[in-house]
Symmetry: C2
Subunit: 215 residues, 2 copies
């Protein structure tokens, strides 16, 4: 190993350890939440798919305050194929949004962009099939960009701000780093790093894992 | 941003650029090969599953010399479920080996370790079902550890050795780094970084992508 590589390795090691007066690594640990493909519905779309005035049935609270998994599922379909039993998450939102995995794009025959939740402009559409009707959404299909929910107090503690994009480090044989993880800091969030099942599997992360913010 | 962070960022930037006399980043580019779940069979197991003296039918050459995808597929099964149409790769090997995705572990009900190809000791077994018979393998199930095939000349050029574990960098919105990528350098290899479909999807890599060795 040449002098340059030796220097580079040593510098990286020191930086990862946080330096003498820097952050402690443990202080930057964040629990992981793993999302499979799922759907957020508007009330008008819920009415069309399940019948007028339909109310979603909560089966499990999610870690984010007020958010829950529902008993109800839908079939989603594109020009090449369909996927059954896609879970609906509640409560209803202003706009319907369908978050899928990269692998689902091949099955459906639709290329979905990587987007932050709520950023629907220019996203492709998809067909939703429910027990009482179906809808062709003109937009709303995306692969969720990885992000970390936190309170403003958490953000201060981590030295980050809402909207910032940071990197996260994952330890272990299948470890590494994910770049461009968006910080979503507000007063109705609980601290959790949201990734999808493919991102979790690629780094061997489970619901009990923690990641480290490395900026 | 404090002085420590500013210093850390600058150092990382300089290191990534390879320094004044260091490696140029472009010189470390490696094409990507993406593997779905697949099976390598021994001739005795091929005989049991397809009939005595059976020969595999090549449908497509793979990028590694002498390796090919076959027309033949198998069903693989565990205590919780089965997966159909798992592709066999040829030619036959000394030992049968089944490489699956992390997501398949949930479906099959078997926890498979991350291993390098050929390192079968202590791996779990799985049932293989073919048109003429079935086998309960006592070992051979794994999730492939990501690795880079290359010639000894490539290894010299990259400054790595066979068996070394390096990191790779992936650019783009879904970019990041994967650690513990094993170097497999020998005279019968073509330069290619092998990852599985979940690792590819998590970083938005395709068959046309390239990654950068960053050590």
């Amino acid at each position: 190993m040449g002098k340059y590589d030796a220097l580079a390795d040593l510098l990286l090691e020191v930086i990862r350890e946080g330096g003498g007066g820097g952050r402690k690594k443990d202080a930057n640990l964040v629990p992981v939440g793993i999302s499979n493909r799922h759907i957020h519905l508007s009330q008008p779309d819920l009415d069309t798919l399940f019948g007028a005035g339909y109310q979603l049935t909560k089966t499990k609270d999610l870690s984010q305050p007020m958010q829950y998994a529902c008993k109800e599922t839908l079939i989603i379909g594109g020009p090449k194929g369909a996927i059954e039993k896609v879970r609906i998450l509640g409560p209803v939102r202003n706009e319907t949004q369908v978050e899928i995995l990269q692998t689902d794009c091949f099955k459906l025959g639709i290329i979905a962009p990587v987007r932050l939740s709520g950023d629907l402009q220019g996203t492709p559409g998809i067909t939703l099939i429910g027990p009482k009707g179906s809808i062709y959404l003109s937009k709303g299909l995306m692969i969720a960009q990885r992000h970390i929910h936190m309170t403003p107090e958490d953000a201060t503690r981590f030295g980050v701000i809402d909207g910032e994009q940071i990197s996260i480090q994952i330890d272990g044989l299948r470890g590494g780093t994910y770049a461009n993880v968006a910080i979503r800091a507000n007063t109705v969030s609980a601290l959790e790093c949201h990734i999808d099942t493919e991102e979790a599997n690629a780094m061997n992360l489970t619901a009990n894992s923690q990641i480290t913010i490395i900026k």
